[in-house]
């Protein structure tokens, strides 16, 4: 029998996510997928899954889940103090839930998003090639909506590889989550910034604005000034920092619009996106200017850490 988890409390915003639907962008549908792909993939690998199967992405707080069959799970990403039947459990480690075990989270200690993987992967509606929840379209995952109390979650079957409890990803292999420095390379329209704004961009610290979500983060800081008007709309990608006429930059995240016409002044590199995904409104961050070569090295380092699992 495939294991089932009963949702007793969904948490603030818990959605089913995988690695998204990149092929849907030509229809204007956001690629979407897990915000922190490192934590999502690590949780999957710890339970023997392929990195691309669906996990639960739990924002700000964790759910309460009751297991009715024995199952192997792993929790990765933010630290919301996970507990099984009240006893503290390690994150970034595979663990077994016995029938009747209750998984809870005592409260957020750091980070923004926890990922829960189950051996076999979570079941969810597949839409345009992905189980990721698209809240705008109301499709994918748990019928296009966040989890709610009373939902039941099924595992899809067997994991690709059999895995045991106690597999662990050591901290040095994970992204440096506590350092809120997002490494970035110059954007294609950086030269539109006036010299003062160009100097400020990579020097000041920004606060993640109130209206920040899976679509993007508003970066509160000094107003930046760009010359020239709007550009002809072009395809966007996760991690780009666009500058609307307000002068307040926006960092685009997983559910970003597929196209836009604001100048792109910087691009947060893929190795820093997991760190960005673990920020919440009010958190401070800095953009650090690096070379493309260094960005590629950083990406390879994180990819190698996942290869170890």
């Amino acid at each position: 029998m495939t294991p089932t988890l009963h949702v007793e409390n969904p948490g603030v915003l818990t959605t089913v996510q995988d690695l998204g639907r990149p092929n849907a962008v030509s229809a204007g549908v956001q690629a979407g997928g897990a915000m922190d792909r490192f934590a999502h993939s690590a949780a999957n690998l710890l339970v023997g899954n392929d990195p691309g199967v669906a996990t639960l992405e739990c924002t700000v707080s964790g759910p309460t889940l009751l297991a009715d069959e024995r199952c192997l799970i792993a929790i990765a990403g933010a630290d919301f103090d996970p507990r099984v039947n009240g006893a503290a459990m390690p994150s970034w480690t595979s663990l077994v839930l016995e029938p009747g075990d209750r998984l809870t989270f005592a409260g957020r200690r750091s980070g923004a998003r926890v990922y829960i993987a189950i051996a076999g992967g979570f079941e969810g509606d597949r839409w345009l090639g992905s189980q990721s929840t698209n809240l705008m379209a109301g499709r994918g995952g748990m019928h296009g909506r966040p989890l709610k109390a009373g939902d039941t979650l099924n595992a899809m079957g067997e994991a690709r590889k059999s895995a045991l409890a106690g597999r662990h990803m050591p901290e040095p292999l994970r992204p440096a989550y506590s350092d809120h420095t997002l490494h970035a390379i110059a954007g294609p329209h950086l030269k539109r910034l006036d010299p003062e704004s160009r100097r400020l961009l990579f020097q000041v610290s920004y606060k993640v604005g109130l209206h920040s979500d899976r679509m993007g983060y508003r970066l509160d800081g000094p107003q930046l000034v760009a010359a020239g008007g709007e550009l002809l709309s072009f395809g966007l990608t996760v991690g780009v920092v666009q500058l609307p006429p307000s002068g307040q930059p926006i960092l685009l995240m997983a559910d970003h619009p597929t196209a836009g016409g604001y100048p792109i002044v910087a691009c947060v590199v893929s190795a820093s996106l997991p760190i960005a995904a673990q920020l919440l409104p009010g958190d401070e961050l800095r953009l650090a200017d690096i070379t493309l070569e260094r960005a590629q090295k950083m990406r390879q380092t994180l990819a190698a850490a996942l290869d170890v699992l």
């Binding site: 030509s26 204007g28 549908v29 379209a137």
Partner: protein, 209 residues
């Protein structure tokens, strides 16, 4: 053509800064050719550009930039005329009077000018099902609203600059709303999930209901 990194696994190839049907046709052909490459994960044509996501295990910015230049130098295939969609519009949008006042045009004249051309779908994107249509007649060109609406009803027919569009979903929006249509543009249970594709042609006609 300007080819620049868009992060460490993507690049932006800008063909031109002009809103032009021939350039858009080239951008769509270039994106189609790039999608066939095994080192390309996704290629999205913009108005006059292509955004390319590549597999960093098998390509670099340099190798792809060279491939893009090679492909762009080729003569683009003869563009097939896109499918023609006839879209009924009730021209009673909340902004049609203000648009008329600012442009000194009667409602009938706005309808006549807006329904005259066959528009091209330059790009499908922004939100699910949104299509950038153009070029809009110069006589109807207005900058976007100073203060965008926080919620625009689905089906609203709108104009801004030299463009027209139809809101497929209730979303925020800064364009001028001149009418509405009952045609559904976002079709979540179809694949592709939208009515229009880049290169399609759109003809609006006025209807009372």
């Amino acid at each position: 053509m300007r080819i620049q990194p868009l992060g460490d696994t993507a690049l932006l190839a800008e063909l031109s800064a002009r809103l032009d049907t021939a350039i858009n046709t080239r951008a769509i052909a270039l994106a189609t050719a790039l999608k066939k490459r095994r080192d390309v994960r996704q290629a999205i044509a913009g108005y006059a550009s292509v955004t390319v996501h590549f597999d960093p295990e098998h390509a670099t910015h340099e190798s792809l930039a060279a491939a893009i230049k090679r492909l762009a130098a080729r003569r683009p295939p003869m563009a097939e005329p896109g499918r023609l969609h006839r879209i009924p519009v009730v021209y009673d949008g909340p902004d049609i009077e203000e648009v008329g006042e600012r442009l000194r045009l009667s409602r009938a004249k706005i309808i006549e000018i807006h329904t005259r051309p066959i528009y091209r779908v330059f790009l499908v994107g922004f939100v699910p099902g949104w299509a950038y249509l153009g070029p809009l007649a110069e006589e109807l060109a207005l900058p976007r609203r100073d203060v965008p609406r926080t919620q625009v009803p689905a089906g609203s027919v709108a104009i801004a600059g030299r463009q027209s569009g139809i809101y497929p979903l209730p979303t925020p929006g800064g364009w001028h709303l001149i009418g509405r249509t009952s045609v559904r543009l976002f079709l979540p249970d179809s694949d592709p999930p939208c009515l229009f594709r880049a290169g399609d042609r759109i003809k609006f006609f006025s209807t009372q209901q």
